[in-house]
Structures are given as C-alpha cells and as structure tokens.
C-alpha cells in the first residue's frame, strides 16, 4: 500500500481540497499581480483580495476590515501577542496563559518573560480543561493579556470560552483576550462577537486550504504595536507579500467548510465516536485521553495503549499506509514525552503509548474499520514482545 493512503493526522495539516487547488491555479498562472491602484491588473487583484477577506471574515462573524491575512497561524499569534504586550507594556507586564497551550503561545510567553514580563501559567485538570476559577484567581491589576488555545492540539479539549469571557469582562480593567483558534476553526462554530475576543488566529491548511496562509481577527479599535516592518503589499500588520493564490485557496476552503458547518461537524463527530467505540471494543487495556463526548473537538481521538510504545506503533501503521501521531518521547526530536499529557497527570508510560487520530471530512467508516483492525493486530504483536505485558499477564506466556 502506498504511504499516506489513510491519513489521520489532520491536526498537523490537512490534504488540500481539489476545488482549492483548482482555484489557486488561476492565481498562480494568470492572476498573480499584487494589489495596486489605477492599473487594471492591480485593481482586479485588490477586488479579489477584498472578496477573499469578506469570505473569511464572514466565517467568524467579523467585519472584513477586522480581518488580516498572515503567512499562517503562527504569524497571526506572534503579531497579536507581541503586538499587544509591547503596546501595553507601560500599563502592565503581567500575562496569563496555561501550560497546555499550543507551542506558539508558550514560546511567546517564554520570550515575554525574557524581556521582563511576568507570566502566570494555569494548570489543566485531568481532562485538559483549564478552569475559569484559575483565571479569575490569576488576574492582577497589571494583567494586560490572557491567551488561550480554544481546542487543545493534543487531546481536543474545548476550553470554557464563555466563562473566560465573563471573567475578563468583570475584571475591572481591560485585559486583552487572545485566542488561538487554529484547531477549533471549522470544528465548532466561532463567532468573534459572542466570544468577545480581541484577537483570534486561524489557519487555512487545517481546513483543507493551502499551507502558508492564515488570518488574524483584530477587533475594531484595538491597538497592536507593529512587530513586523516592511513594505505594505497586502496587509499593514504583516508587511511584504502574502501569496494571492494562497489567499484565494484559503477563501475557497472556507466556502467549502462553512457551506454546511453543522453537517461537517456531525460527520466528524459520528466518525470519531465510531472510531473510539471500535478501538475500545477491539483492543483491551486502552484508555481515552481527554474528555468523552461534547467536551472535546469533533475530530480528535487520543488513546493510550498499555504496555507498548507509540513510535513502534506509528511505524507499523505507517508500513500499512496509515498516518497517525504519537506522544511518545522516542518519536519526538527532543526525546521528550507530551507536555500536555504530563500536565494532565498522565505518566511517562501513558504518554509513550499514546496514539492521536485526527480525522477530516475525507475519512470514511471503511478507513476507520481498516485502521482499527491493523492497530489491533499491531498491538497484539508488540505486546507479545513487551516485558511489561509479559510480567503483568503471566497466563499468556
């Protein structure tokens, strides 16, 4: 079987939709111009960019003037986090996030500490949820920013955004609210007015759009210090060129995803429920990491398989044409277990044996059946080699 035949690592990146590729081709080949005034080529591009912007803004219930294209989710996070802290440093130098946030947020937090900010890191519960009470307790007079990852990238836990919003509203002074929505976008309805966030980042390639483009929602009237400098081509917040074709592909991906968001969510929820049900029925001594049901995003199933190691599992699945992810230290470049699972109180063994499936609209029940059947066989094989399994199951010598 060809590698990548069954792809269930959609939390990292998704396959681009055929319609997206078709749309982008036009802009790569014929309509490659940057926006400009008074010349027909540039003006037609300006109109196109405006319509892409409107499409993406509509998907978040934002106005087009509040939507800024960036070269991806990471750029959007950086522009927001650095921009707001630099612009408010005179007012206060305290920032709040959680230890299970996406690395974009945590590496920015580490940078802020280096330049003199103080950061409070909230702890998750056993399901990866960060309680609103902790946020309330962490707020100080000099707090200028609270940032959170709406859907956890490892276990799919959805953070209590409404409760966070209410606490921030009641804080007595303005605290900038930044949300990384890259994992949440297209997996649950997001309305920036209802969330009442000040900034929010999304990425195209998590919803079958192209890699290398994302967007930052910036609430009207919110000031960010400029952190990237250069010539303005597309957007003032991220100077320099941003691919016209990439924005076109992004807008097309948004159209496809949001034409029937509820239907898409229903499909993913049904498929991941089925995956979990089959895993639990076919593989003994397996445990779900993170919440069951509505508390987790519709595309994520993360399980720990006892007595075996995740890199070995993912490699054997790979040789069967199946792509999934693991939290095993052995599979990471830094030889470290998953910081999210450890923060949730899981031990090294549970992290080593963790397998993450993230589904997309292109996955089917037949694929799920095939994957579970292969995984059951691989689990039995690796357990037959495992001293941990043998020592705890002497009857199966």
């Amino acid at each position: 079987m060809k590698s990548g035949n069954i792809y269930m690592d959609n939390c990292i990146t998704t396959p681009p939709a055929p319609e997206v590729l078709k749309e982008m081709k036009t802009y790569f080949e014929d309509r490659f111009w940057f926006p400009a005034s008074f010349i027909s080529t540039g003006e037609s591009t300006a109109e196109a960019v405006a319509s892409f912007k409107k499409t993406v803004a509509d998907s978040l219930n934002a106005s087009p003037d509040e939507l800024h294209f960036t070269s991806g989710g990471t750029l959007a996070n950086n522009i927001s986090i650095k921009g707001v802290t630099l612009s408010r440093a005179v007012r206060g130098r305290h920032v709040i996030c959680s230890v299970v946030d996406y690395p974009d947020l945590l590496t920015n937090a580490a940078f802020l500490e280096k330049i003199g900010f103080e950061v409070s890191y909230l702890e998750p519960d056993a399901q990866g949820r960060v309680s609103p009470q902790q946020l309330k307790d962490a707020i100080r007079d000099d707090t200028v920013l609270f940032m959170t990852t709406i859907v956890n990238h490892v276990v799919g836990t959805i953070q209590p955004m409404r409760e966070y919003r209410d606490i921030l509203r009641a804080a007595g002074h303005k605290i900038h609210f930044h949300a990384d929505a890259c994992q949440a976008y297209g997996k649950l309805p997001l309305d920036v007015k209802e969330l009442d966030v000040d900034t929010l980042s999304v990425s195209a390639h998590k919803i079958h759009g192209p890699q290398g483009v994302g967007a930052l929602y910036l609430k009207r009237g919110t000031k960010l210090e400029q952190v990237i400098h250069g010539v303005k081509r597309i957007d003032g917040l991220q100077p320099g060129g941003i691919g016209i074709a990439l924005m076109a592909g992004f807008a097309k991906a948004v159209e496809l995803t949001f034409a029937d968001l509820e239907g898409g969510i229903r499909h993913l929820r049904g498929l991941s429920d089925y995956l979990l049900e089959q895993l639990e029925a076919r593989i003994p001594e397996i445990e779900l990491n993170g919440p069951r049901g509505e508390g987790r995003a519709c595309h994520n199933i993360n399980v720990s398989i006892a007595y075996i190691e995740g890199e070995a599992v993912t490699m054997m699945l790979d040789l069967n044409g199946i792509t999934v992810a693991t939290g095993s230290a052995c599979a990471s470049q830094g030889l470290k277990p998953s910081y999210v699972l450890l923060a949730m109180g899981k031990n090294h063994v549970q992290s080593h044996g963790s397998i993450k499936f993230t589904l997309s609209r292109y996955n089917t029940r037949e694929e799920v059946d095939f994957v579970v059947e292969k995984l059951a066989g691989i689990t039995a094989e690796l357990r037959s080699r495992s001293p941990l399994y043998k020592s705890t199951h002497p009857e199966e010598r």
Binding site: C330, N347, H348, R385, Y389
Partner: protein, 207 residues
C-alpha cells in the same frame, strides 16, 4: 530522519524474540518511565561457556527492538568472553547505522546483554561482585549518548570531572547553557547511577 532497511526488517520481523523457559541467566534494564525496557534471557553451556540460545523482550521503539534483535544474533553461539566484546557500536554497524538521536535507544539492549552475562558469571563464581567506584561511574557514563551526534558523552569529552566519596557522586559536565540536551543527559546520568545501592546522592554540575 530515516531508518535503514535493516533496521526496518529487524523491527518488523525481529529474531530471537520471546520469553525463555528456564534460562541460565536473565537481566532486565531500563525503566518504562525513561522510555525503554529490555529483558535478555541466556541459555549457557556450563562446560564450554558458549551461549547456546538467547532471546529478548522489549518495551521500546523501533531502534530498541531492532538492536535487541541483531545483538542477540551477534552473540548466539559465541563464548561468554567473545560476547563480552560485542558493543552497541557493533550492533549499530550491523544495522547499517542509526539516526544520531536514536542511538541512545540501542545502547540499552547491548547493556542488558552485558548485565545478563555478568549475572551468570557472578552466580557461577566466575567473577566477584565488582566494587562500586569511580571506574564504575565512568563505565556507566560511556553508555550515555549525546543525541545530537549519536556518540557517548565520555568519548565526546563532555565529562570534565568524576568524583565518588561516601556514596556521593559528583560529576562536572562540559555542556553549554544553551545546549538543548542538557536536561536529557542529566536525567540519563541519574537513571544509570541510581540503580546502584552504593549511590546515595548524585550531583551534576554544568558550567
């Protein structure tokens, strides 16, 4: 980062895998909390001291399983003296190499083979239980791989000073403050030394 075809073959279809009935020597090294655990079983002819059979179990990644598979091939039919000379470097060579970051996973299997042999020799009066001292510490440090380059920290001259006094181990390391592997290496040093009852405290200093 890629594995060689040999590694994949030994990982997918390992040789000598499984629990052994009535082994003459057995050893388990590593711990699930540090990632890997290997058990080695030996069947030894008491007259010729030849390893007549060997098998292993592994809780580990592909590199760990493949090394255990090939090293058991390498020592099968050898005398204990010959088997003692088989190192992780021999196993790695026989596997057509390993990615540097994965070398540390292969050391464990080689190490466990040596422990099993040593256990046999001690049990049969072929050698004394060695005294724990500075030499033992240095031997242990030679088993710790610097993941960036896949070489051990002693060969790389990363160990500046080793001291042992009344149960207290003192190690001065030569690793820069921005070295991303400092924490990994320190943790591995602890795991290697904590198993000795003679060790009460371990202090590792970085510049």
């Amino acid at each position: 980062m890629q594995y060689s075809q040999k590694v994949l073959d030994h990982f997918m279809r390992p040789h000598n895998v499984g629990q052994m009935e009535n082994p003459d020597a057995v050893a388990t090294e590593g711990s699930p909390s540090c990632g890997d655990q290997v058990t080695i079983y030996l069947k030894i002819n008491p007259d010729t001291l030849v390893i007549e059979d060997v098998s292993f179990l592994s809780y580990g990644c592909a590199s760990n399983i493949a090394t255990a598979s090939i090293i058991t091939d390498l020592i099968k039919g050898k005398t204990l003296e010959e088997a003692k000379k088989v190192t992780w470097r021999d196993a790695m060579e026989a596997l057509d190499g390993l990615p540097p970051v994965k070398v540390h996973c292969s050391v464990l299997a080689a190490d466990t083979v040596q422990t099993a042999i040593s256990n046999y020799e001690i049990a049969h009066g072929l050698k004394e239980v060695p005294d724990f001292g500075k030499e033992t510490i240095i031997e242990e440090l030679k088993k710790i791989i610097y993941p960036q380059v896949g070489e051990d920290i002693v060969s790389l001259k990363m160990v500046k000073y080793v001291g042992f006094d009344d149960g207290n181990v003192l190690i001065d390391m030569n690793m820069m403050s921005f070295d991303q592997w400092r924490e990994n290496v320190a943790q591995e040093i602890r795991e290697h030394l904590e198993k000795y009852p003679a060790v009460k405290d371990i202090q590792i200093n970085f510049p």
